[in-house]
Symmetry: C2
Subunit: 418 residues, 2 copies
């Protein structure tokens, strides 16, 4: 297998939980060497998040596959020196401490860019490094609520509800991944790294999209509109005889085709539905008309008829599990995966967040060095500063994961977490 | 202002609507020259999507700011030759036609990489270029439903509901942005481009996260859990005297702090709540206990008390509009934006999707060439093949946007859409 596009890249990962680890996961999947620094005796908080398999956190394993893990006490002078020696050789550093902490640790952008001018230094935080909210502690749900994404999710007569995925973390991680690639490209011209400031809040705010545009244009706080779309109609779920399906007719041509497929030429010429803007204003009226016809047959019938007519439509699958159960992973990294394959790879999380970006003809996805296995190396309790390179016994920790104690020479070890 | 990191990059954008345009928007924001190819006389479908300002689509303007637009009929030999002449010089091409269309147009990966081996060629589709669903037409809602993200969004007693943002489009666009950066970095070593295959389905599936992990570990289809978290507790909305707030105590230390801040030491020592796993199993019991205390005071009181104790917490803002109304853009690109600034920039969409990734110290964000203004250039009806370079009169089109007819020499023009 040819190397991934990030082959040769050295990444220092000081992040925890989800947003930061996702960004460096992408780099690892694409061939980078990622050294994840964890707190001795505890490790990333997410090692205590379930579900567990063989006492290992799938939550942790899934976003940290293919990385190498090292336990360092950043307040210990020897460990600090070890970290600096790695950073001096690194291309990328990612951290998600609260603003100011890295400076206090002697690891601020000014210090590190002075030592290593080519370093791309990425700070991920809830609300960014500037602004009145910069010191607020944040997790995904805090940010989701603050951006208003909850207030536009749900049906008009329901309470606001959080999208079922941690989108603030995930969006920040994806923005960071993209920004790192851009900064590395930009470094070609300047020879210098940069400081990238990613806020989960900014990342999530950028997703508001139709709802935010609607407010900007009208000044009216956007309502919850269930499964409909703020700018396009018809673009919604529609009830058939047995269950509902999604239909998206996002231009005049598709709308005409939809009316033909429903055998409802009256809708195609109805002045209420003549343009997208008109259909948007008369969204409920069209839905009622369409459902009068759709309710005469089951969903399977309509998916076949509409599909044959080229109308974008589809069933509502059940989340995650339902999807796996149907065996319908059409592709992942260019190959089909059924439930058994997904379960086989369940050890490292199963659903590989990195795959969509990695499929490529010319450049193959890099093989993770040690997929799904991360070793937490820590200094033995009571060891002095000179104990590196010594292997000691495994020990069980109270939070359900085992750490293999011992410190590799140079501070880095490729090992197996088990 | 220093150039953006993508300065000097030439991008050909053959995409429409949202996922593709978002990926190239990021490149344009970061300094790339993006040439957007549109269909003569019609343009990107999203030009007909509201809201509108001065008859211009904000939907379109927002994801196409800073790009240059050219109208080409890809089946016309002269226009085809014009496009090839641009592609031969390009670094990146992004397309979102259905699988097979680019090949039929003589613009397939094999052909173009033969002409320009350095070309990074990105295909974005609903379900990818391989697999049984590859030919299914897709828009955001079709993909959201197919991945099961709807089935895990909503309260346990409600119907499944779509997250209020077009996350399938947005996730695909962000993955594409990241993948392009990685491919450009990888090109340094190989001198060759690559073919990147982005599926909205894959991108969205990767977001399922906790719900998918839960299924992989347990085999049980994940239920809807409202605002709670699949792996962490307490991590939810909690009712106060007047309204609910978000509280996230994602580790034992924060949980202990929360119990202290609530003045409920009994909860901190309750065996039901001793570890994250225990708290997850007893999620509802803790919520009831906590709300007994929280309901005694209004949300503002608790946000102050919990905030002072360093517990991640926050209010639920109203979507987009409510957020702007409060004036609480803490930062965007490193500067504060109030409602007036947001409205001033409403012309080009207001909420700049590209900003989070662009903030940087060493490398400044590139200035978009022509922010918020895109000129659709088309050949005059009735013109022969040799009419390039001639300016003709503006004309109004039935879909509410005006096109400035005329074709610049070389096929590209920097102009103003108005």
């Amino acid at each position: 297998m040819s190397p991934g596009p990030m082959d040769g890249l050295l990444v220092v990962d000081l992040t925890r939980v989800l947003a930061g680890p996702l960004s460096t996961l992408m780099l690892a999947d694409l061939g980078a060497r990622v050294i994840k620094v964890e707190r001795p005796g505890h490790g990333d908080d997410s090692r205590s998040y379930g579900p567990f398999m063989d006492d290992r956190s799938l939550y942790f394993a899934r976003v940290n596959r293919g990385k190498q893990s090292i336990a360092l006490d950043l307040k210990d002078p020897d460990d600090h020196a070890t970290l600096l020696s790695i950073i001096d050789r690194a291309d990328v550093l990612v951290e998600n401490f609260r603003p100011g902490v890295m400076d206090r640790l002697g690891l601020g952008w000014g210090t590190l860019s002075g030592r290593n001018p080519r370093l791309v230094y990425v700070s991920i935080s809830g609300f960014g490094r500037t602004g009145p909210w910069r010191n607020r502690p944040a997790y995904d749900a805090v940010v989701q609520a603050a951006t208003g994404i909850m207030s536009i999710t749900g049906s008009p007569d329901s309470d606001p509800v959080k999208p079922g995925v941690p989108i603030a973390d995930l969006a920040a991680g994806l923005y960071a991944f993209g920004a790192i690639g851009a900064a590395l490209y930009g470094r070609l011209a300047t020879g210098r790294g940069t400081h990238i400031d990613i806020a989960m809040f900014d990342a999530t705010l950028s997703l508001l999209e139709g709802a935010a545009l609607s407010y900007l244009a009208t000044g009216v706080t956007p309502p919850r509109i269930g499964n409909a779309h703020y700018s396009i109609a018809p673009f919604d779920t529609f009830a058939c005889a047995d269950r509902s399906i999604v239909i998206c007719a996002a231009n005049d041509s598709l709308f005409a085709g939809l009316c033909r497929a429903l055998d409802r030429p009256d809708l195609g010429t109805d002045p209420r539905f003549v343009t997208n803007s008109a259909r948007l204003a008369a969204r409920e009226a069209f839905k009622q008309e369409a459902e009068r016809t759709l309710r005469a047959q089951p969903a399977a019938y309509w998916l076949k008829v509409l599909g044959a007519a080229g109308i974008p439509c589809g069933p509502k699958q059940r989340g995650g599990g339902g999807l796996l159960r149907t065996g319908c992973f059409p592709r992942h990294g260019g190959r089909r995966r059924g439930p058994s394959a997904a379960r086989e790879s369940g050890e490292d999380g199963g659903l590989a967040a990195g795959l969509p970006a990695a499929a490529g003809t010319g450049t193959r996805r890099g093989r993770p060095r040690d997929p799904g296995r991360v070793r937490l190396i820590r200094r033995c309790a009571g060891d002095g500063g000179g104990s590196r390179g010594r292997d000691t016994r495994d020990r069980e920790h109270s939070n359900g994961y085992r750490t293999s104690t011992g410190m590799a020479s140079g501070g880095v070890d490729e090992g197996t977490w088990s």
